[in-house]
Symmetry: C2
Subunit: 235 residues, 2 copies
DNA sequence: GAGTGGTCTAGACCACGAC
DNA sequence: TCGTGGTCTAGACCACTCG
């Protein structure tokens, strides 16, 4: 770890961090305002602003106009999970990627899908079931529902070669998404495909995405037993 | 969703985002340089810089000196998980918080603890087992190991009133942390405390933290069945 | 060598919010 | 009211990296 020269924004940030960690400024304390810090460090106020803004984004300090900047009392840790395309994830691990489409049907979706996406009752929805393999071994089971009202082209797309994941990324503009992580017992159909005992604890990732106007898709990824989501904590 | 006036950094960002989503600039494309965009939007280059810098942090564009700025080919989704103090989490849900210390001992830690923290064999480690309750019902079981070589004060602290989580936050400067999320079968001792059937799928969060010089603590949180980690996806 | 993003400056005005 | 952070500007120099 190198210390940046103190009149750069990183240098200011390092010094502020040091004072927070060494309790020169204690949790709850008000720290000097930007103009004073700029004078102390011999730099422009904009430089101090950038340093403090990033610390505020990380939750280490709280800033309010007029009140000033305080050291956070209970800094909230933030862990960033990266969600790559599954093929990329497997190939990045140096393994061979394979993909098999198991089921394709247009059928009324279960309640959890209509509910999380906020779909009207009569919506036509495309249901896909597919397995992604790493070196020939099942890696994750994908249970996807695509809103045909928002993505009519999906009805004619060939999802047996390219995964819906990648097809959607290239085809539909996504504006926002939700992710829910939970531990669930392996259901009977997944047990058959993944060759597991029913009830085995599996990590389930439920992802919903919306376009500019309408919900696009909901997907549940069933990860094989032992799979771990690894991240670093900032703050 | 309001559109910001276009000569603010948010306005520039909105317009750039729109062009990326509507495929005016396609994945892989080079977009105009900062000076040109500033001229087009009628603002200063610093304003464009801020807009693009944030998009680069989100992974939507890739920037390199001399080459310029490109629309990312495979934007990696990022989900930010917020990790509050457990008491805060429960109280924020409008529930009553309770805490019970079940076990306190100094004992050799299991391999997964010494391994993830990188502890030497002979390290003295304090082992705590505690349960956090919401409205009187078990919410999460905490299985914590504290490195007494790094935090000797922990040996005399009273963890029956204040949870180790909060005590450590107030006492020890933390420099970095790791988080691993997995689905595991409920072990026998947890089953007794949480009044569950052994083997029930539980969401396990393994958190390790380091101070400036040494590993501080490793904690595994066993969440009750059905618990979901909710986040939003950026990008 | 030259074009690009990365950063700093000194100054200015604005928006929020505590009083 | 008025102090604070939030932002914009015009200009400058630097650092990286491609050709």
């Amino acid at each position: 770890m190198t210390i940046a020269s103190p009149n750069t924004w990183q240098g200011v940030q390092d010094e502020v961090l040091r004072r927070i960690r060494e309790r020169v400024w204690k949790p709850g304390d008000l720290i000097p305002n930007e103009a004073d810090l700029a004078a102390e460090f011999g730099c422009a106020r904009a430089t101090v602003n950038r340093a403090l803004r990033e610390l505020a984004e990380q939750g280490l300090v709280e800033r309010r106009r007029k009140s000033g900047t305080r050291v956070a009392l209970h800094p909230v840790g933030r862990a960033v999970i990266e969600i790559p395309v599954i093929r990329t994830e497997i190939e990045a691990a140096g393994q061979r990627y394979d993909y098999r489409l198991l089921l394709r049907e247009v059928t009324p979706p279960p309640g959890r899908v209509t509910y999380t996406l906020g779909l009207p009752d009569a919506t036509r929805v495309l249901h896909l079931l597919a397995v992604h393999l790493a070196d020939g071994v099942p890696f994750v089971l994908e249970d996807r529902w695509i809103n045909l009202a928002a993505v009519p082209q999906a009805d004619e797309a060939d999802f047996s070669v390219k995964s819906a994941n990648e097809w959607l990324l290239e085809t539909v503009p996504v504006v926002r998404g939700d992710l829910a992580i939970s531990a669930l017992p392996c259901p009977p159909d997944a047990a058959r495909v993944l060759e597991l005992t029913e009830g085995t604890p599996l990590l389930a990732l439920d992802r919903s995405t919306w376009g500019p106007d309408a919900p696009i898709t909901h997907v549940r990824l069933w990860h094989m037993p032992g799979h771990r989501l690894l991240t670093q904590i900032a703050g």
